[in-house]
């Protein structure tokens, strides 16, 4: 059974079609990359998968559960790391994570143990009782990751997880993704960083203006684009082939 099945998904905001008839599947135990330029519809697609937004049409199933029919069951199986650092910043990290744990109905002792272990691993245990108003973006990102893993979900979805992280934290995140998958979890993440996608993802999907442009393993995507690197394939598929000219135009404008 697929871990995630997306069928003919469409979503409109007023007259803007953010997602157009999108279909793809994600297998259990794989790292799946969602690629696309800004405004491609990646975040909208993710928000529909986790039940934050209703689609106009189409179906999403997580491990056989329909998001439309059983949203709570789906949310119990997903850990989500959002792109924007949506947190109650006037709480301490411990208070926030305890809230998340309690909303997942975890036993208090397990919540306490998990928080301690995860934050120690992420080098954040010293800040655990400080309000998050003073946290850096990287620290907030680590708290969000901890909250996504707290209930030991089957599927972890990360929206731009590497933005704002320093290189050491990013390395920990990359390592963690590998280990999660080795432990049987499924990870989906969206990113602009093609090197990371190339290194981590078994399969990927490139979308642009809400439409699927290419999908499959990296080799398959390169073959579909007729290019030999992911960067070139991405540029070609998204219609940006005059990169050098554009950079020159910007420099001209500065003069």
């Amino acid at each position: 059974m697929n871990m995630l099945t997306v069928e003919n998904l469409s979503k409109c905001f007023g007259e803007i079609e953010a997602v157009k008839d999108l279909s793809f599947t994600v297998l259990p135990g794989e790292v799946f990359g969602l690629l696309g330029p800004n405004g491609a519809g990646k975040t909208t697609t993710i928000k529909i998968i986790i039940g934050m937004l209703d689609p106009n049409s189409g179906n999403v199933r997580v491990n056989g559960c329909s998001v439309a029919e059983q949203p709570l069951e789906v949310k119990k199986r997903i850990g989500y790391v959002p792109e924007n650092c949506a947190l109650y910043e006037n709480l301490t990290a411990r208070e926030y994570l305890e809230l998340v744990g309690n909303l997942h109905h975890l036993p208090p002792d397990r919540i306490a143990t998990q928080i301690e272990r995860l934050l120690t691993t992420l080098d954040l245990v010293d800040a655990i009782d400080r309000r998050m108003t003073g946290y850096s973006k990287g620290m907030k990102q680590k708290i969000l990751l901890t909250s996504a893993l707290l209930h030991n979900p089957d599927l972890i979805i990360m929206d731009e997880p590497f933005s704002g992280l320093d290189s050491n934290s990013a390395a920990v995140f990359k390592q963690l993704i590998g280990q999660l998958v080795a432990g049987g979890k499924t990870v989906i993440f969206s990113s602009h960083v093609l090197e990371v996608v190339e290194k981590l993802c078994g399969r990927l999907l490139i979308i642009h203006e809400g439409e699927k442009l290419a999908a499959g393993t990296i080799k398959e995507v390169l073959a579909q684009a007729g290019e030999n690197s992911l960067e070139k394939a991405f540029s070609k598929l998204t219609g940006v082939t005059d990169i050098a000219d554009r950079a020159a135009d910007i420099l001209d404008a500065l003069e």
């Binding site: 007259e15 937004l53 029919e69 949203p71 949506a86 109905h105």
Partner: protein, 546 residues
């Protein structure tokens, strides 16, 4: 509708933890309040409690001295319901449909009904604290007057019932509107409703005594059908439980109140709670809209002013106008000023005696409401400054910190804005009013000059207390109402009291006027210099809030 939705039950474990967090957040929202440097200890809700308590003292006097218990109770309940409605409307973004809550909670396995209950109970917690602050003094007053211990139980109960009905009614309207209209549209509609409600609050204490006839004040039972139609009557009728009404009309009236409460509760809990989360999601993801023509128009006018403004002022002026169009909170703050100003001038003008020429007859000849025109002038600065510091998009203020903008100029720009776009136009309007009443241009101008200096001193005091980078601080629950509270207190000290003294001792003597004018000029300059110095010091330490 999904099967899982229709069988939603409240998850009390989740509800308990959501409520604990909501209350913690309410009580921790004091930092960065007004001009503070970030160590504020008091949440804005406490300012509001203080404000409500001050009003409650006035209500207590009414309860004690008015002869008919029913009417005085109806008036107290009316005030309580109006303030509850106004507080919810002013703060509704954080009370009922907070985008932050949606972003954080909606990915978690919390059903819509539990989420809705948590918001509603948090709302009751908030409004019950305020109602308690409003009701405590009238309860004590009526206990002292009647010596009837039943009032200790009945009065808080009827206020709580009225407050609950109001909260449910407003929540029902909001949540119902959200089902069909975008959040932006709801906000826009409500900003106008709030403007009207603001007018009612600011002027009600003057208008009501004029409208309410002496015979109504004597009413001791629900004898007329129109009294029965007033929702506050339904809840005020509970005093029948204390044996204060002879006939049985109060029973029917109380039952109507309870029925209304029950119906609102059923409506909220059955129809609204099930797809509350989805309604918020829909409303938050409505598409953007085109830039309104009025912003372009005003930006054009600001452009024409450009040669008289420094670059920071030009930038801030444009920002303020854009915020007025797009930030509903700021829009509400500004719009609340309009009816208040118009009504205060109107009341002063139509009052018996109108506005007397202080250089001829002095204060004794003027109507009792003539001071309202001065009071309105004093409200502008602190009210606008209170609104101009906070924004839901406060993080966009990085631009002031990341560019070589002079932060002192940035912080003082709103002062110039208030002076140019609020104080000077209001003075011009007053010039017309004064000329009409005084029939003497020179006297009108002489009074205006005094008023101008007093208002500029008030503006400086406001900046000494509340200077900050425009729209750079996050919005906190209770904060709008808190700034209204301070806006009302300050002008009494900085405008009204000095005007009383000037009218009593200065205006009738040309020599005294001349000396007073020089003194005011010197004071205005000194305050202005001092304020600039203080703002410069604060600008050196102000930091971007991420």
């Amino acid at each position: 509708m999904p099967a899982e939705h229709t069988k939603q039950k409240v998850d009390f474990h989740q509800l308990k933890h959501l409520l604990i967090v909501a209350i913690k957040l309410d009580m921790r929202s004091g930092s960065q309040q007004f001009g503070g440097k970030g160590s504020g200890k008091f949440p804005p809700i406490l300012y509001l409690v203080l404000f409500q308590f001050m009003i409650s003292i006035g209500l207590a006097l009414g309860m004690y001295f008015m002869p008919a218990r029913l009417v005085s109770t109806i008036l107290v309940v009316t005030v309580a319901m109006t303030f509850t409605a106004l507080n919810i409307m002013v703060e509704f973004g954080s009370l009922i449909m907070s985008p932050d809550d949606h972003d954080i909670i909606s990915p978690l396995p919390v059903n819509s009904r539990t989420f809705f209950y948590s918001k509603l109970i948090n709302l009751f917690f908030y409004t019950t604290i305020l109602t308690a602050a409003l009701g405590i003094a009238p309860t004590i007053a009526v206990l002292i007057k009647t010596g009837n211990p039943m009032y200790a139980l009945v009065f808080p109960t009827l206020l709580l019932a009225a407050n609950t009905a109001t909260s449910l009614a407003i929540s029902s309207v909001y949540a119902s509107l959200l089902k069909y209209v975008s959040r932006e549209r709801v906000t826009s509609i409500l900003s106008y409703v709030q403007m009207i409600m603001g007018g009612v609050v600011y002027t009600g204490y003057i208008v009501v005594p004029k409208v309410v006839s002496k015979s109504f004040i004597q009413v001791e039972d629900i004898t007329d059908w129109w009294i029965f139609l007033l929702p506050p009557t339904w809840y005020a009728s509970f005093i029948g439980l204390a044996g204060e009404i002879d006939s049985s009309h109060w029973i029917w009236s109380s039952l109507v109140g309870l029925a209304a409460l029950g119906m609102l509760y059923m409506y909220c809990m059955t129809y609204l709670s099930i797809d509350y989360s989805a309604s918020i999601a829909r409303s938050l993801t409505a598409s953007g809209k085109k830039e309104p023509k009025s912003v372009k128009l005003w930006q054009g006018r600001i452009g024409a002013l450009g040669r008289f403004l420094n670059p920071e002022e030009t930038a801030v002026f444009r920002l303020v106008w854009a915020q007025f169009k797009y930030d509903s909170r700021f829009k509400m703050t500004i719009l609340a000023i309009v009816p208040m100003t118009v009504l205060y001038i109107f009341l002063a003008v139509v009052d018996d005696g109108g506005i007397a020429d202080p250089f001829v007859s002095g204060i004794a000849e003027a109507g009792p409401h003539s001071f309202l025109v001065f009071f309105a002038m004093g409200i502008f600065p602190s009210m606008i400054q209170g609104g101009v510091l906070h924004s839901v998009s406060y993080q966009a203020s990085w631009i002031f910190f990341a560019t070589p903008a002079n932060l002192t100029n940035v912080m003082l720009s709103t002062r110039r804005f208030i002076q140019l776009f609020f104080i000077l136009p209001y003075l011009l309007a007053l010039l017309v009013v004064f000329c009409w009443f005084f029939g003497n241009l020179l006297h009108s101008l002489m009074l205006l000059v005094v008023l101008y200096f007093l208002t500029m001193i008030q503006l400086s005091v406001t900046y000494l207390l509340f200077a900050g980078v425009p729209f750079s601080r996050p919005v906190k629950k209770g904060q709008n109402a808190a700034s209204v509270f301070l806006s009302i207190i300050m002008p009494v000290c900085t405008i009204i009291l000095p005007m009383v003294l000037l009218e009593a001792f200065v205006f009738t003597s040309p020599a005294a006027y001349s000396v007073a004018l020089v003194l005011l000029l010197v004071m205005e300059r000194l305050f202005s210099r001092f304020t600039q110095g203080r703002v410069a010091v604060r600008a050196a330490s102000v930091r971007y809030l991420d």
